[in-house]
């Protein structure tokens, strides 16, 4: 335990490209970029199939299969492709980034779809009856009501992305996972292994709590459950996520 504290107190570990600030920056920036790209893809598709109901079953089934795929597998399946694209960065940033993006799309897409579908269809019908145009229905009614659910999807995607970024260290990527992988392969550095674990877990739990608070803040008071103050990562294990799988 002391050695872990000492490791954190060692100024050397706070400097340079292998220092904590840079590794944290690598981890967060790569995760953020992957989430952004995944959101740019997942959100519009989720909104479209949620609002229109078109192609929903097919898209959700594909997305659910995507959620079933192990992240480590995605990472290495992309590896030969990324080595082809760029022999220089092919072994670190690109496969990790692509894997993170691919893995973040399904939770965002599926929860966006589910959030929109959960909006009372009678309400949508009433809005249409009052003369709102389709984009207005989506913008003023469906999206605001679905936002807490959608944020839940981002929580899941964020966890997924942070975890995958950690594994990325195995294929030579940067980020906080480096401390764990290097600490493990060098038995003389147990403190580094533990420090890595603390940093990674702290980052994941901290981000999740922040997202949980945001989710709670934007949920209309009337819809809040009494026990859901912090009910762990969002997203119910609900069969409603998967209409007619198989």
């Amino acid at each position: 335990m002391d050695s872990v504290v000492n490791w954190f107190l060692d100024p050397l570990n706070w400097q340079g490209s292998a220092g904590i600030p840079n590794r944290l920056f690598e981890h967060v920036s790569l995760s953020g970029a992957a989430l952004l790209v995944a959101a740019l893809i997942g959100l519009p598709i989720g909104l479209f199939i949620g609002h229109t109901g078109r192609f929903a079953t097919a898209v959700i089934n594909i997305a659910n299969i995507g959620r079933a795929i192990p992240s480590y597998a995605v990472l290495v399946i992309i590896l030969p492709v990324s080595l082809q694209i760029s022999p220089e960065y092919g072994l670190n940033v690109i496969p990790t980034f692509l894997a993170m993006t691919l893995l973040a799309i399904p939770p965002i897409l599926v929860t966006t779809y589910a959030g929109i579908r959960e909006v009372d269809r009678d309400l949508v019908e009433a809005a249409r009856g009052m003369g709102l145009r389709e984009p207005q229905i989506l913008g003023r009614l469906e999206i605001p009501l679905a936002t807490p659910v959608i944020v839940g999807g981002f929580r899941t995607a964020t966890l997924q992305v942070i975890a995958t970024a950690t594994i990325g260290a195995v294929v030579g990527g940067g980020g906080l996972g480096r401390f764990i992988v290097d600490g493990f392969s060098n038995p003389s550095l147990p403190a580094q292994l533990y420090a890595g674990v603390i940093l990674v877990a702290g980052l994941a739990i901290g981000l999740d709590i922040v997202l949980a608070l945001i989710q709670r803040r934007i949920t209309p008071r009337a819809l809040r459950g009494p026990l859901d103050r912090w009910a762990g990562p969002a997203e119910q294990a609900s069969p409603a996520d998967s209409p007619g799988m198989g």
Partner: protein, 224 residues
Amino acid sequence: MLPGQQLIDFSWIGDHLGQIAERIGQHLELTILPVAIGFLIALVLSIWAVRQPIVYGPITAVTGVLYTIPSLAAFAVLIPITGLSLVSALIPLVSYTLLILVRSIVAGFRGVAPEVLEAAEGMGYTRTQRLIRVEFPLAVPMMIAGLRLATVTAIGLATVASIIGGDTFGGLGQLITEGLQTFFPTKYLLGAALSVVLAVSADVLFVQIERWITPWARAPGSAG
């Protein structure tokens, strides 16, 4: 990939079918054991939470934190304590299933219509009889949904265990890690592909299981 190497070396696969089968067997063990243990723990926690709703919040908060810890960190943290044994892989894998299972089991129990419970009570079921004969069967579809997600999650996370555990845990992750270490794409791609096939098969299998054991949930109107 080394220069001049083929992406997939089929003759290697043909020569190592026994080893590959062994890895699949290990992976199934790494999946089924934690899901089974996790289900038993989650069932106890869930029944507790259903009977005393006040504990549901704390249970999901604790299992939620466990669920949030990135897998590589979770596997790494136990090695110095439990050493390179199967327990080091089982503990994180079990803890990952808990949140998923507790949530779905509790949702299953809470989803039982209040009038059904009242009818059961009014007809003279004891509390235990009602739990076993009415609430449990009606919670099964949600339990299966939870088991489906937990199993698929465990299959994925079990591949990560080999990064830390080496050949202690085995499984398809070991094929991937060895393949990466020896720059041998056939091996890591095969490990990855098989883990994908395993996860998707498990997913589809659970959908079928749910249909078999909940005949009452099938489309209304079809004469049984």
